[in-house]
Amino acid sequence: MIGSLSHRTLLQPRSLTDALKMLRDEGPLVPLAGCTDLYVSLNFGTLKGTRFLNLWGLAGLKDISVRGDVLSIGALATHTDLIRSPLVQKRIPMLAAAAREVGGVQIQNRGTLGGNVANASPAGDTLPVLAAADAVVVLRSAAETRRVPFTTFYTGYRQSVRRLDELIVGFEIPAIHGRQWFRKVGTRAAQAISKVVIAGVAPAGRAGSVRVALGSVAPTVVRATRTEAALAGGATIGDAQRTLLEEIAPIDDIRSTSEYRRRVAANLLARFWADAHRK
């Protein structure tokens, strides 16, 4: 049965400092922004929290800018912001491609990059991109700011290193050298949660390193580091596919089967590598 809104509280901070204080002093609070995942849980009757912290009005967390050679993206940048940002398009087009695959237009207008990461679903569309980009998650609490490599951010299924008094405030993405590639596999053309999602970077000439990240094939988004090494070392695509299948552990669930995810992950690895080497 649909969840009840009775006995739930929403705290409304006026600034980031305010929000961090509330987290410290009035927790535990569930931060919310676009609510695109939260309302799904509410409707399914699985929403657990009772006290929420509304970040939506904190406009300072929407910035997308470049400092030195690093692209900074605020946690509250929406998918629409990512799609429209010339900086994102130029420096990390695979992120714009992933954002375009999220839900429909309304969801893209509301859903945020920070929310996608905080929700921690292994099927999150942008997560393999952040993993392949060697992104850094910027976490802030009332006491400190810390930077965590995205690839070590998740510790298990829907679990991360974020402490209850911390907010994800943004992401830092170093320059990416090489060809970027992104693919989401869902049953229908839009508004479908992924069965498999994959992001890759292939070196162009001498610049860059091979990177392969996948979603929906393990409890968290994964970087297929052994597969990367195999490809970088000149392995045949068949050998690389075999390595990949050792690295991932997809499950059967309502959206697909383990067998299907393994086949598609291997097929898409070959597609990525073939596309990367097409003139």
């Binding site: 049965m1 309502i254 067998e259 598609v264």
Partner: protein
């Protein structure tokens, strides 16, 4: 034989494309659907349903709910000791002053269940050691149908194909869920109800509540889809009426999406093990099929098999299998999409045994051509229009991961009508009101009722006020079986002609002629052949006087027909790396007798095709094989096509005015899925003998094909 009621030979309106009368009301939100009805002091109803697929109700405790804030009525729907037979079986209900309070109170109703053995799929129900779950048996074996000497038929065959084919269960997924608003005035009930059968709903309310039908007034002005699942108040309607009576206040009870999936009907599954024979020159010889299917808890699952094609010898048996899931209901061309798929996939496999073109093979094995059996012509027209000559043999040789193919399939339907009444008033100010107790379930009935009257009176559509969707109006049947147009249109025509005659009788003396010399055309009434000798409609109506022309009429023979045929072509592309199927083109050729409104007729075909793409590629009711619970009772996991999944669809309607009006609501949805599946087979060379064509199944079939074939 032509008579005064016959459809005009040169119609001004009929057969043209006319926009829906209520289109602007719908797009601006002025149209009031059942969901939009709000009454003074109205309460909200909420049902409590069994979470278990099969259980005995041990106790029902309503006390906490009765004391909850805002609660005005609480009732138990079943007795303690009764069995619930599926997840979603209604158990209790509550009405409160807000939706949220009704929900909160529903959560406080404590029901204890003793779980009983259940079946989540047909395999469990058909197992030899299955427990007795359904009284009278877990399955019901139907009679054997047999024609000709099957042994001799197979003896003539040069090739035999033997395989198992299957379609799955899908639900109706009406965008407007089932439900109603009930309001009592003493022992008189008014119900605004989302229904395909407004008068029959009044009858069912009366029977279930033990009150005279004359005391029930049902209203349905606008509806967001029914597809065969909305023919009466159902349990939620009766519960709503009881809550309203208990609470002494109007109650709105609309189901949520989960309830809609669980308890408002579905299309039964169909599986058949088939053996069929073919001669070396492509003549069918024999068909032997054992089929089974499930329509849920105690419901039937029949379908026609083999479909359309002429198997000179054939044998077929069918078994209904009962599982613990919501009961099936009629769903847009009940049985036909199943029978069509099971036959049409087999047909392509048979054609491939002798490397014969699937269109030529089908044409060779059709029943004799007739006005309701025009397939041969449609195959030819369609093949030309679709570019069938560009179709490659099975297996697209194009390099790269995207393979494209074409498929074809045929279908039939009835669409006859009868037994409808109507009433027409012509006022002295020229106003016309046409009344009929039919309903517009989204198909455009309101518009075509107006068009038939306007055509008869020689007036524009805007001159007609149409009143439908109300049980106080003259009798008309429920909108099922594509019967609405063929039932209501003759009644409207007859009544309008009679009303016009009555008007002619008033006008004739003023024009110095006899009534039979008059015609009504272009907004004037004049002497046939001399348009100058006449009056404008308005001036003519001034002669009516104080008592309006008020005429009752009813359906008559000769204005409607029965039996439609259609053929559809599909082009699909398959990504062999992901198994994802995209439909790229559909051509639907369809007849429907006399076309009333070309635009709404085409809309029916578009809607039917899109619904069938959903059946083929997306929809699937999934029950957990252990718990028996539906794992996708929502619209997030139960997928329907989005706009970007809808391909280019071309509709070719065959207007056959000499056959009269025939319904078109159902037939266009029958053959699309089969044509798509045949296109996928043509694209990839892999035969997938069951729906839906989900990517994991397609990919698995491709792997199997690579490993040495699917046979």
């Amino acid at each position: 034989m032509a008579n005064k009621y016959s459809w005009p030979e040169k119609p001004a309106l009929l057969g043209t494309s006319v926009k829906r009368l209520d289109g602007p009301d719908k797009v601006t939100g002025r149209a009031k659907y059942t969901y939009d009805i709000n009454r003074p002091g109205m309460l909200y109803g909420k049902m409590v349903r069994s979470p278990l697929p099969h259980a005995r109700v041990v106790s029902i405790d309503l006390s906490a709910a009765e004391k909850a804030p805002g609660v005005k009525a609480v009732l138990a729907h079943v007795a303690v000791g009764a069995q619930v037979m599926y997840q979603g079986d209604p158990v209790a209900a509550v009405a409160a002053d807000t939706e949220e309070r009704a929900l909160d109170a529903a959560r406080m109703i404590r029901v204890r269940y003793e779980a009983l053995p259940h079946f989540a799929n047909v395999e469990q129900a058909m197992a030899t050691d299955a427990p007795a779950v359904f009284p009278g048996g877990n399955t019901r074996q139907g009679a054997t149908e047999e024609t000709g000497d099957l042994v001799a038929g197979f003896a003539k065959a040069a090739h035999i194909v033997e395989a198992t084919y299957a379609t799955h269960v899908i639900t109706h997924v009406c965008l407007e869920t089932h439900g109603c608003v009930c309001e009592w005035d003493g022992d008189k009930l008014t119900a605004w109800i989302s229904t395909q059968a407004v008068i029959q709903s009044a009858q069912q309310f009366a029977q279930a509540l033990g009150i005279p039908q004359a005391n029930v007034h049902t209203i349905m002005q606008y509806m967001g889809g029914g597809f065969g699942s909305k023919f009466g108040p159902d349990s939620q309607g009766i519960i709503c009426a009881k809550l309203a009576k208990l609470a002494k206040a109007p109650v709105k009870l609309m189901l949520d999406r989960k309830e809609e999936h669980l308890d408002t009907g579905n299309r039964p599954s169909a599986t058949a093990h088939i053996r069929a024979g073919i001669t070396a020159d492509g003549m069918l010889t024999a068909f032997d099929g054992q089929s089974w299917g499930t329509g849920g808890a105690g419901a039937t699952s029949g379908f026609p098999l083999p479909y359309i094609y002429n198997f000179p010898t054939r044998k077929r048996t069918h078994k209904d299998v009962y599982i613990n899931a919501g009961q099936q209901r009629a769903m847009r061309a009940p049985g036909h999409p199943q029978g069509c798929f099971l036959t049409e996939i087999l047909m392509d496999e048979l054609a491939d045994t002798i490397k014969m073109d699937p269109v030529a093979f089908r044409v060779k094995n059709l029943p004799p051509a007739a006005p309701n059996a025009m397939w041969a012509e449609y195959f030819a027209r369609g093949a030309k229009a679709f570019g069938w000559d560009k179709r490659h043999a099975t297996g697209d040789p194009t390099p790269g991961p995207i393979k494209t193919g074409m498929g074809v399939s045929a279908h039939r339907w009835g669409g006859a009508g009868q037994g409808s009444q109507a009433h027409v008033d012509i006022m002295s100010d020229g106003g016309i009101v046409v009344k009929c107790g039919t309903q517009d379930i989204g198909t455009g009935t309101r518009t075509i009722v107006g068009m038939v009257a306007a055509e008869t009176f020689g007036l524009p559509l805007s001159a007609i006020k149409v009143e439908i969707g109300d049980s106080l109006l003259p009798f008309s049947g429920g909108s099922g079986g594509s019967t609405t147009a063929a039932s209501a249109m003759p009644a409207i025509r007859v009544t309008s002609v009679d009303a016009l005659e009555a008007l002619f009788a008033k006008v004739a003396p003023a024009l110095g002629t006899a009534p039979e010399n008059l015609v009504a055309e272009g907004g004037r009434i004049f002497i046939k052949g001399t348009p100058a000798k006449g009056l404008s409609w308005k001036d003519a109506c001034k002669l009516i006087g104080t008592e309006p022309i008020s005429v009752n009429g009813k359906w008559a023979q000769g204005l409607s027909g029965s039996g439609t045929s259609g053929v559809q072509f599909a082009e699909a592309s398959v990504d062999i790396e992901t198994g994802i199927v995209r439909v790229t083109r559909i051509l639907a050729i369809q007849d429907c007798g006399l076309i009333v409104d070309k635009l709404t007729a085409e809309s029916q075909a578009y809607g039917g095709v899109i619904a069938a793409i959903n059946f083929a590629l997306f929809e699937d009711r999934i029950l957990d094989r252990v718990t028996g619970q539906m794992v996708n009772p929502n619209m997030e996991m139960y997928l329907l096509a989005g706009m970007s999944d809808v391909p280019k669809i071309d509709i070719m309607l065959n207007n056959m005015p000499e056959r009269g009006v025939i319904g078109i609501g159902e037939p266009p949805t029958v053959s699309t899925a089969s044509a798509i599946a045949n296109a996928v087979r043509n694209a990839t060379g892999a035969t997938i003998r069951s729906l839906p064509l989900h990517p994991h199944k397609v990919l698995a079939a491709l792997e199997q094909e690579k490993a040495g074939g699917t046979n």
